[in-house]
Symmetry: C2
Subunit: 126 residues, 2 copies
Amino acid sequence: MSVQRQTKQLQAIQTAFETAGRPLSIDEIHELAGRDIESLGVRTVYRAVRRLQENGDVSIVNVPGGSDRYELASVAAEHHHHFHCTACDRFFDIHGCPGGLKKLLPKGFKLEHHELTLSGLCESCA
Amino acid sequence: MSVQRQTKQLQAIQTAFETAGRPLSIDEIHELAGRDIESLGVRTVYRAVRRLQENGDVSIVNVPGGSDRYELASVAAEHHHHFHCTACDRFFDIHGCPGGLKKLLPKGFKLEHHELTLSGLCESCA
DNA sequence: TAACTAATGGCAATTAATTGCCATTAATGC
DNA sequence: GCATTAATGGCAATTAATTGCCATTAGTTA
Ligand SMILES: [Mn+2]
Ligand SMILES: [Mn+2]
Ligand SMILES: [Zn+2]
Ligand SMILES: [Zn+2]
C-alpha cells in the first residue's frame, strides 16, 4: 500500500472535529474546515471522512431523519447518546445512558445495541 | 373539497397496517397490500400513505439509518419506542420507556422529545 | 531541487427515494 | 345504467446525497 500524505485539508478536517467537540455533518465539516482552507471542496471532505473512518479515527453517527453525522472514534468509544437541537440542527453528545432497556424487550428478542436521541433546544437556542 | 373514494387499494393498505401490527416501510406496505391487489403500484402506495397521514390516520416513524416507516396514528398516540431486527430489517413496537432522561441533559438545554431504537434479533430471527 | 504519485476539487454521473404527468380505470350519486 | 371525476399505475423526471472522472496541485523521498 502507498503512503498516506498529511495534507492541509486533512489536518483542517481533523482539527474541525477536535474543536467542535460534537458530531458533525459533511456540510458542517466543509464549513468549519473551510475557514482554514478557503478553497476546500466537498469532494475532499467526503474522501477525508471515508479515509478517517477506514483508519479507525472517525465513526459514523446515524440519526433519525436527517443526514449522517461523524464523530471522533475516541469519543464514540465511550457509550453515550445524542441531543438534536431542532432550532440550529446541531447534534451534541449526551454522556450517560438511562439503562434498564432489557426489561422493555419482548420475549424471544435479543438485544444487541440501542440508540437514544433527545431533542429540543440547545443552550444557545433556548 | 371533493369526496374521497374508498378504493380496494386503500382498503388493502389500511388492512396491511392493521394486520402487520408494526411500523411498515413503503416497500413493506407495497408487498403486504400487494397480496390482495395483485397489480398494486408503488405510486399508489405513496399517495395512499400521504393521504392517510393528512387525514391523521397514519404517523411517520423516522428511524436511524434506514428509510422511513409508517404506523397507525392510534398506535403512535401512546408513547412508545421501537426495535429494529438487523437480520430481517423489520421494526417492532416496544411498549414502555426507560424514563429518567431529564437528568442526562446538559445545563441550559430544553428537552422536548426523545427517540429510542433498540436493535438486535427479533423472535423469529434469534 | 527533481521525480514520483497521492491528493485535490470541479463537474458530470450515479443512486435511491419520491413526485409529476397522463391516459385509463373505477367509485359514487343520481 | 350513466355521467362525473377521484384514483390508479407505469414511466419519466426530480431531488438530495454520494461517487466517478481527470487535469492539476502539492506532499514525500532521494
Ligand atoms: Mn457522540
Ligand atoms: Mn411504533
Ligand atoms: Zn441549537
Ligand atoms: Zn428479524
